[in-house]
C-alpha cells in the first residue's frame, strides 16, 4: 500500500502522468480505457443493426445510414476494440511474465497507444463531419472509390494512423520477448500468453505492411489523383482484395492467438494443473501463425481466381484445422484430472471450448470451396466469424478482464456480478448467432439493410435481435460491476486468485513501477508454481540489489500522433473541387486551406521526431535505497 496514503495527486497531474507515461502498466490501462470505450461504441452500433433487422421492411435506419453503421461496427470492433484490448493485456502481463522492468522500447510503446487513440478518434469524427465510411469494413475498391463524400477517407486515414501504432507495438513486443527475458526464462519456459503474443506480434509485422500499402493505394486514388483502382485508366480493383485479405486473414490470427494465450493461462490456473502438451501448444501456435499467411484467398473463392487457386487455397485452409484441433484437445486434457474452480474467468474459458469449436468447424465447411459459393457473403459467414471472434476473442477479453483486473488495479471485480454477466452474455451470444447460420443457408445475403416479408426470414431475425439485447444487458452489468469495484476500491494482496503459476502473480499488488526489485531467477515452466512447490513461496533473485535504469516520461508521442491527426484533415480535404479528383469528391467546394493544414500537421510530427532524435534521452536510475524502503514497507504491510 505504498501509494495510497503518501500523496493525493491532483486530477491535472494524473492526466499529465498518463499523457506522458512510458510505463507498460499504465499504457495497458490506456489501451483498456480506449479499447473499452470503442467496444461499447461498436456494441451500440451492433444494437442499431439488430434493431433495424428485427422486423422486415423496417425503416429504423435508412439504407445509407445502415451501411455506415455496419462499416463502423466492423472497423471499430476489429481495429479499435479487439486489438487494443488484447494489447492492454499483453502490456499488462508480458513484461511481468518474462521478468522485465519494462518493454524494449518504452517510448515506442507510448507512441503506439497514442497513434491508435488518435486514429480511432479520427475515424469516429466521420459521424459528425458529413457521414461515416459506408463500404463495409473490407471497403472493396470499386465501391470505396464510388462512395461519395469523405466517409471512406476517414476510414483510410484513421486506419493508416492507428495501423502505424499497431505495427510499432508489434515490433516492440517481438523485441521485448527476444531480448528482455530474465535469467533462466528460456523460450520453452515462456508462458503461453507470452508465446502467443510473440507469434501474434510477428504476424503484425508481416501482415500490417500489406494493409498499409493497400490503404495508400486507396488514399492516393481518392486524394491525389492516381489510378490504381480506376479501371478506365488501367487500374485493377482485385489488387485491393488481395492486399486487404493478405492482411485480413492473419489479422484473424493476430486476434485469436493472444486469446488462446489468455485461456491457456486461465485453464492451468483454475484447474490447478500445468498446461497439457506445452510443447505441442507452442508448436501449434507457430504453425497457425505460419499457415495464416497462406490462406487469404479463401475469402475470395467467388472472385473468379480460377479452379487451381481455389483448390490450393481450399486445401491449405483445411490444413489449419489440424493445429487448432490440437489446441482444443490439449485444453481439454489440461482440465482432465485437474481440480476446476468455477471462477468468472474460468467460466468464460470453459464456454470458449464448445463455442469456438463451432466457429472452427463452420470455417472448415467454408474451406470446401464449392459449398462456399453458397455460404459466401451470406448470413452464414456473419454467423461463422462472430462465433470465432465473439466466442473466441471477446470471451477471452472478458475472461482476461476479470482474471488480470487484480494485476492491473489491485482490486477484484465482483464475482457474483461477473457470473451474471457471463451467463447473460453466453446465452445472448448463442441466441444471436446460431440462428444466423440458417438465415444464410435460406438465402439471406449479409450487409442488407432490410429484407422483404414472406421470405421466411422474420422469426429468425427476431430471435437474433433478442439475443443481442441479452448481450447488451450483460455488458451493462459488467459496466456496473466495474464502477462498483472502482468505487469500493478494496485492495487485494499478492496472488489474489490463490493458484497463480506464472511470474506475474509473484509480484506485490499494486505492482511497483519498476516491476521487480531484483530480476528473478527462473527455474522452470510456471516459475512461481515451481517456487511454491519447493516451499520458497517467492521468487529467488538472480542479481543483488543495485541501482537500476528506467526510462523517462515523454509528451512527444502525443505530439507526434496529434501532428498526424491534423495532417489527415489536410490530406482528406485536399482533392475537394479539383478537376483531377475522382467523381466522389470533385464536385465539393474547394478547400484552399487543406494543403497548409497537411503541411502543418506533418511538420508538427517531424519536429517532434527531430527533438526526439536531437535530444539524448538516457533515462534515470532508481536508487537501491528507494527499493529497499519499498521492500520494507511491503514486509510491514504483509504482517
Amino acid at each position: 500500500m505504498a501509494q495510497t496514503s503518501a500523496q493525493k495527486k491532483g486530477v491535472g497531474s494524473v492526466i499529465w502522468e498518463y499523457l506522458t507515461t512510458v510505463d507498460h502498466k499504465k499504457i495497458a490501462i490506456l489501451y483498456l480505457i480506449a479499447g473499452g470505450f470503442f467496444f461499447v461504441l461498436g456494441g451500440i452500433e451492433a444494437m442499431l443493426i439488430r434493431i433495424q433487422l428485427a422486423v422486415p421492411n423496417n425503416d429504423f435506419l435508412s439504407a445509407g445510414l445502415f451501411n455506415e453503421v455496419i462499416t463502423m461496427h466492423g472497423t471499430t470492433m476489429i481495429f479499435l476494440a479487439a486489438m487494443p484490448l488484447l494489447f492492454a493485456f499483453m502490456n499488462a502481463t508480458v513484461p511481468l511474465q518474462i521478468g522485465a522492468r519494462d518493454v524494449a522500447f518504452p517510448f515506442l510503446n507510448s507512441l503506439g497507444v497514442w497513434l491508435f487513440i488518435f486514429g480511432g478518434i479520427f475515424l469516429n469524427l466521420s459521424w459528425f463531419m458529413g457521414g461515416a465510411p459506408d463500404a463495409g469494413w473490407t471497403s472493396y475498391a470499386s465501391l470505396s472509390i464510388a462512395s461519395p463524400g469523405h466517409g471512406i477517407d476517414f476510414y483510410a486515414l484513421g486506419l493508416q494512423i492507428s495501423g502505424a501504432g499497431t505495427l510499432i507495438s508489434g515490433i516492440n513486443f517481438v523485441t521485448t520477448i527476444i531480448t528482455m527475458r530474465a535469467p533462466g526464462m528460456t523460450y520453452m519456459r515462456m508462458p503461453l500468453m507470452t508465446w502467443t503474443t510473440l507469434v501474434a506480434s510477428v504476424l503484425i509485422v508481416f501482415a500490417f505492411p500489406p494493409l498499409t500499402i493497400g490503404i495508400f493505394l486507396l488514399m492516393f486514388d481518392r486524394m491525389f489523383g492516381s489510378n490504381f483502382f480506376l479501371v478506365e485508366a488501367g487500374g485493377n480493383t482485385i489488387i485491393w482484395e488481395h492486399l486487404f485479405w493478405i492482411f485480413g486473414h492473419p489479422e484473424v490470427y493476430i486476434l485469436i492467438l493472444p486469446a488462446f494465450g489468455i485461456f491457456s493461462e486461465i485453464f492451468a490456473t483454475f484447474a490447478r494443473k500445468r498446461l497439457f502438451g506445452y510443447s505441442a501448444m507452442v508448436f501449434a501456435t507457430v504453425l497457425i501463425g505460419f499457415y495464416g499467411f497462406m490462406v487469404w484467398a479463401h475469402h475470395m473463392f467467388t472472385v473468379g481466381l480460377g479452379p487451381v487457386a481455389n483448390a490450393i487455397f481450399a486445401v491449405a485452409t483445411m490444413a489449419i484445422a489440424v493445429p487448432t484441433g490440437i489446441k482444443i484437445f490439449n485444453w481439454i486434457a489440461t482440465i482432465w484430472g485437474g481440480s476446476i474452480e468455477f471462477t468468472t474467468p474460468m467460466l468464460y474459458a470453459l464456454a470458449f471450448i464448445p463455442s469456438f469449436t463451432m466457429g472452427g468447424v463452420t470455417g472448415i465447411m467454408q474451406a470446401a470451396a464449392p459449398a462456399d459459393y453458397q455460404y459466401h457473403d451470406s448470413y452464414f459467414i456473419v454467423a461463422h466469424f462472430h462465433y470465432v471472434i465473439v466466442g473466441g476473442v471477446v470471451f477471452a477479453l472478458l475472461a482476461g478482464l476479470h482474471y488480470y483486473w487484480p494485476l492491473m488495479f489491485a482490486t477484484m471485480l465482483n464475482e457474483k456480478l461477473g457470473k451474471i454477466t457471463f451467463w447473460l452474455f453466453f446465452f445472448g451470444f448463442h441466441l444471436t448467432f446460431l440462428i444466423q447460420h440458417f438465415l444464410g443457408l435460406w438465402g439471406m445475403p449479409r450487409r442488407v439493410f432490410t429484407y422483404l416479408d414472406g421470405q421466411g426470414y422474420n422469426a429468425a431475425n427476431m430471435i437474433s435481435t433478442a439475443g443481442a439485447f441479452l448481450m447488451a444487458v450483460a455488458v451493462i452489468v459488467l459496466v456496473v460491476n466495474i464502477i462498483m469495484t472502482i468505487a469500493k476500491n478494496e485492495r487485494v494482496g499478492m496472488d489474489p486468485w490463490g493458484d497463480g503459476r506464472t511470474l506475474e502473480w509473484s509480484l506485490p499488488l499494486p505492482v511497483p513501477y519498476y516491476n521487480f526489485a531484483q530480476i528473478p531467477l527462473i527455474r522452470g515452466l510456471d516459475p512461481y508454481w515451481v517456487e511454491k512447490k519447493e516451499g520458497n513461496g517467492k521468487m529467488l533473485p538472480s542479481e543483488s540489489l543495485t541501482d537500476f535504469h528506467m526510462p523517462n516520461n515523454s509528451i512527444l508521442p502525443v505530439v507526434m500522433s496529434l501532428g498526424l491527426f491534423i495532417a489527415a484533415f489536410g490530406a482528406m480535404f485536399f482533392p475537394d473541387g479539383k478537376d483531377w479528383a475522382i467523381d466522389a469528391v470533385s464536385g465539393l467546394d474547394p478547400k484552399p486551406w487543406a494543403l497548409p493544414v497537411l503541411i502543418i500537421g506533418l511538420g508538427t510530427t517531424f519536429v517532434a521526431m527531430g527533438i526526439r532524435s536531437w535530444k539524448d534521452d538516457l533515462g534515470y536510475y532508481v536508487k537501491k535505497e528507494e527499493v529497499e524502503k519499498d521492500l520494507e514497507e511491503l514486509e510491514r504491510g504483509g504482517k
Partner: protein
C-alpha cells in the same frame, strides 16, 4: 552519470560495440524486426507494380520497354551499391574505435546516396516530359509509388546519416552512439537490397 557507463576505454572496446548494451541489443533486434515489416511492405509494392505494369488506358501512353533505359539505371545502381560498401567501411572503423574514419566514410556514403537521389529526380523529370506521370495511367501510378517509396527511404536515410554525423561530432564514439550508427548501416543495406530488386524487376525486365 548515465553517460559514464557508455564511454568504454579503448583497451576494453568490445568487438561488437553496437550490441554491447541492453539498449544496443534491443535496437539491433528491433530494427531487424522492422526490416522484416519493410520487406512485406516492398513485397506488396512489387506485387502491385507487376499487376499494373504496362496497364495504360490508351495506345498513346508509353510502355516500360520504350520508357526505361538501362545505362542511367545502371549508374544509379552502381552509386547505391558503392554507398553500401562505404557504409561497411564506416562500421569497420566503428568496430576498431576509429571515430574520425568512421565519420569520413559515413560522409562519403551520404554523398553517394545524394548522387543517386539526384539521378532519380532527373529520371522522374524526364519521364514527366514523356507524359508518364503519377496521374497518367495505372502503370504510372504504380511506377512512381514503387520507385518513389524507395526514393523516400533514401531521403530518410540521408537525413538520418547527416543528423548522426552532426550529432556524433559532439558526442564522439561510444557504445551508445555505436548502436545508432550500426542501425543506420542496417537500414542503408536494406535500401540497397531493395534497389537491386527494383533494378532487376522494373528496369531489366522492363526493357527485355
Amino acid at each position: 552519470m548515465a553517460e559514464m557507463e557508455y564511454n568504454v576505454p579503448t583497451e576494453r572496446w568490445p568487438a561488437h560495440p553496437e550490441t554491447a548494451t541492453q539498449e544496443g541489443k534491443n535496437k539491433f533486434v528491433g530494427f531487424w524486426t522492422f526490416l522484416a515489416g519493410e520487406t512485406a511492405l516492398f513485397a506488396s509494392l512489387f506485387a502491385t507494380y507487376l499487376a499494373l505494369k504496362d496497364s495504360v488506358p490508351s495506345d498513346d501512353h508509353m510502355l516500360a520497354s520504350e520508357l526505361f533505359h538501362l545505362p542511367l539505371a545502371f549508374v544509379m545502381t552502381m552509386l547505391l551499391l558503392t554507398s553500401s560498401l562505404t557504409s561497411v567501411y564506416a562500421i569497420y572503423h566503428m568496430r576498431n574505435n576509429n571515430f574520425q574514419k568512421m565519420q569520413l566514410w559515413l560522409g562519403i556514403t551520404v554523398l553517394l546516396g545524394a548522387g543517386f537521389l539526384a539521378l532519380e529526380i532527373y529520371e522522374f523529370i524526364e519521364y514527366y516530359g514523356y507524359g508518364h506521370t503519377f496521374r497518367s495511367s495505372a502503370f504510372g501510378s504504380a511506377f512512381y509509388f514503387l520507385i518513389g517509396t524507395h526514393g523516400f527511404h533514401v531521403i530518410v536515410g540521408l537525413i538520418w546519416a547527416v543528423l548522426l554525423i552532426l550529432r556524433n561530432a559532439k558526442r564522439g564514439l561510444s557504445v551508445y552512439t555505436a548502436a545508432k550508427v550500426n542501425t543506420f548501416a542496417l537500414y542503408w543495406h536494406f535500401i540497397d537490397v531493395v534497389w537491386v530488386f527494383i533494378f532487376t524487376i522494373v528496369y531489366l525486365l522492363g526493357v527485355l
